[in-house]
Structures are given as C-alpha cells and as structure tokens.
Symmetry: C2
Subunit: 238 residues, 2 copies
C-alpha cells in the first residue's frame, strides 16, 4: 500500500493510459476507493469522478454508434449502447488494461473481496479515469482515450448481439445446414393504402422458422429473419 | 403543414436557437416526428438524434454538477442529475423556448393528441436539436446551447430538491417560527476508534425534529437536519 500513490506509481499509470496529467492528484483520486478515506471520501475517492466518467463515456459511445450505424433504429442503437456501456464490459476493459494493480483500496475494510470485487473496482476506476482525464486534459483528450479503449469493443459487441443484416445471416446458416435458401412468403395482408400491414413468414423448405409484421414487405421479412435467428439461438442451434 | 419545413421556417427556428446550421436538413430532421415519414423514419425522423442528444445533455449536465458542487456526494449528484435530465423539465424548457410550432407531426396519425403529447414532443425535440447541433456544429456549440437552455434549470432544481446546507436551512426555518435555534445533541455513541458511530438528534426546544447516524458528529448532525427538513416538508410546514 505504501508504494501505491507514489509518484513513480502514478507515472507508470500515466504511461499505461497514454496520458500525462497536469495535476496528478486527480489521477490519484481516480484510483482511490472510498474505503481508503471514509472521512473525506467526497473529495478524495473516485466516486464522483466515476459518475462523471460514466456520463462522458455514454455520450461518446452514443455519438460513435450514431455516426457508425446511420441506418440503425433508435431501438437498435439503445440495445447496442446498453451492451457496451455495461459493468461487465468495463470490467473486462479495465482488467485487460491492467488497472487493478493501481487501485488503492483498503481490502480489510470491505465486507467481501473476490474476483467480482476486482471486476467491479476495475469497471469503476475505468470510468473514474475518463472523468479525471476530461477534467484535467479537456474533452478531446478524454474522447481520444475513450476511442482507444472503448470504441473497439463497440464493433465486437455489435457483431455478437445486433443483427443489422438478419436475412444475410439466416441465409448463410440455412444454406450451411440444409443446402437450401430460406424462402419468404407474405402470409397475410391487412389495412389499406397508407395503413397496410404485412405478415411475412420465412421458411426452411416447408418448415416455418419465424414471422414478422410491418408496414412494408421488406421490413416484415427482416423481422421474420430476426425472429428465426432468435428461435435458432434459443434452441442452441447457433 | 406545407409551410413547416420551408426555408423561412427553419431560418426562424435558427434565430430562436441562436445557431446557424451548415446543413439545415439535419435541423429539419430534428423537428420531424416519425408520423410524418413512417417508411423512412430511421433517416428522416428525430428518433436517433433524440437518442444522441439525450446522452450529450446528460454528459454536460453531469459535468456542470461535478464542477459546481464539488462537495456533493455521488448520491446527491445522481439525484440532482435525474431531476434535471427528466421528461418533465425538458418539456417545460422546450415549451418555453416555443419549439412546438416548429415540430412536424402528423397529428391525424397519432393515437391520441393532448397537452401531454405536446409536452412529450417538445421534450423529444429539445434533445434532438442538441444532437443536431452537436453533429452539425461540433461539441462546443452544442455545449453552449445546453449551457444557455438547460444549465439555468440546474440551479433552480437544486434549490428545490437538494439541501446542500440542511443545517443552515433548518436554522432559518426554526428561528423564523419559534425564535429559537435548533439544538444538536449526541444521543448515542457506539463502536471504537476508527469504527465509531454517532447518533445525533436535532431539537426545537425539547421537541425532537430528526436524527442522523454517521461516523462523525458533524455528518450525523447534517443528516439529522436533513431528516428534520423532510419531516417538516411531509407535514406541509414547508
């Protein structure tokens, strides 16, 4: 503990982050858990920096998503954002960065301490560091840091969770497993003129994989493909 | 409807906002409800700009709170933020700005339309406009707009909801109504050394107004004053 918080340690952390602080005391605060300073936690612990960093990361991630996926709906953007801006993802990034060894925490004063506590501390401190960079170095440097550490995850998460092209994905899967192409059929059509609703089903040979309902055949087909992918996922076929 | 979205209307909106856009089409999008363009809503309606603006406003408001109230706890900051960044507050700001007359919405296509829908549209469009300014004019101009339109509300809300100085407020109130000063007494003391807990009560003459428990007498007194203020508020004395 003596060593942590020393100038050499903070300098090593600066090298790790790729950021040199004007005022290192804010960096020190960003890695200080309130267990180390219960009486002066508001000023000396990372709690409020974490709160700040969380909001700043949120804005940068949303802006990235907005620019990178102009054809995503608000619902898709929200889903992607909440996958990225999560404790789990921040913990992984913080651990991979190697933040844990820099965190000042009085473990003896914690109720429990286990792998999850490590994760949680790393997630907190990642956010707090973004807050500290933003305050000490300004918004551009903070944005660059977020771009380096967090933006790469957006692409990864997007590939895992969002299906921007469900019809394409479904086609690949069906072709692979049965050598046929999925077929789309309009099952139902209701409403008139500007108020039309199409129910589209997607089939593997004669087996109905999923359905979708929308005001255009194209969108209903997309939704049907997405439902089919979900069904396959639930059956652990994917 | 014909007139809305015309160049003159957008120019009038720019004057109202104090922002001149490079690309007015993004401003037009910021005031366009998806009822006007259901087929192309992702690209032409304000939905995703609103999502972006919400995150940007959140970050600016949190940064303001962080800088303006350095002695607030993370819990106090969170409470203040969620009071400010609310549909209710955004609706009021949007209505006061006079945004409603600029909003392009196909009212006939909405299920219901009433005063609450107006509020809701104004809140949406305020957020979307911030998103549009951020994209078209960059972060500094967006921040200035948020500073002009939303920061003043933070102070108002703070006065109404947060008691950064509960002892001072309580003293004023008690002095006013009974001509006496509130008195603080340690009612209980437990634990040892670094683990001490104090229970402090605050009294108006002999009447116990509230209690607080903390690891320092000072903080316990603050909490007692806060509880007293809450009690008085509940009894509609305040």
């Amino acid at each position: 503990m003596e060593d942590i918080g020393s100038d050499e340690t903070l300098a090593a952390l600066e090298r790790l982050l790729g950021v040199t602080f004007q005022d290192r005391s804010i960096l020190q605060r960003a890695v200080t858990h309130h267990s180390c300073c219960s009486e002066t936690a508001v000023r000396d612990s990372y709690d409020t920096l974490e709160f700040l960093g969380d909001a700043i990361i949120g804005a940068h991630v949303v802006e990235y998503i907005f620019r990178a996926y102009p054809d995503a709906s608000e619902g898709q953007m929200t889903a992607l954002k909440s996958e990225v801006v999560s404790r789990r993802v921040f913990a992984r990034i913080g651990q991979q960065l190697g933040l844990f060894s820099f965190i000042r925490v009085d473990i003896a004063n914690l109720r429990t301490f286990n792998e999850r506590s490590r994760d949680s501390l790393c997630a907190d401190v990642l956010e707090a560091i973004v807050g500290a960079i933003h305050i000490d170095q300004g918004p551009d440097v903070a944005r660059d840091f977020v771009a380096r550490t967090i933006f790469p995850v957006i692409e990864q998460v997007n590939q895992q969770t969002l299906d921007n092209n469900p019809k394409g994905r479904l086609q690949k899967i069906i072709l692979q497993r049965s050598g046929t192409l999925p077929r789309y059929r309009v099952l139902e059509q209701s409403g008139r003129n500007n108020d039309r609703v199409f129910l589209v089903g997607v089939f593997e040979q004669d087996y109905l994989l999923g359905t979708g309902k929308a005001s255009s055949i194209k969108e209903a087909g997309r939704l049907a493909a997405r439902e089919a992918l979900e069904q396959l996922r639930n059956k652990h076929v994917l």
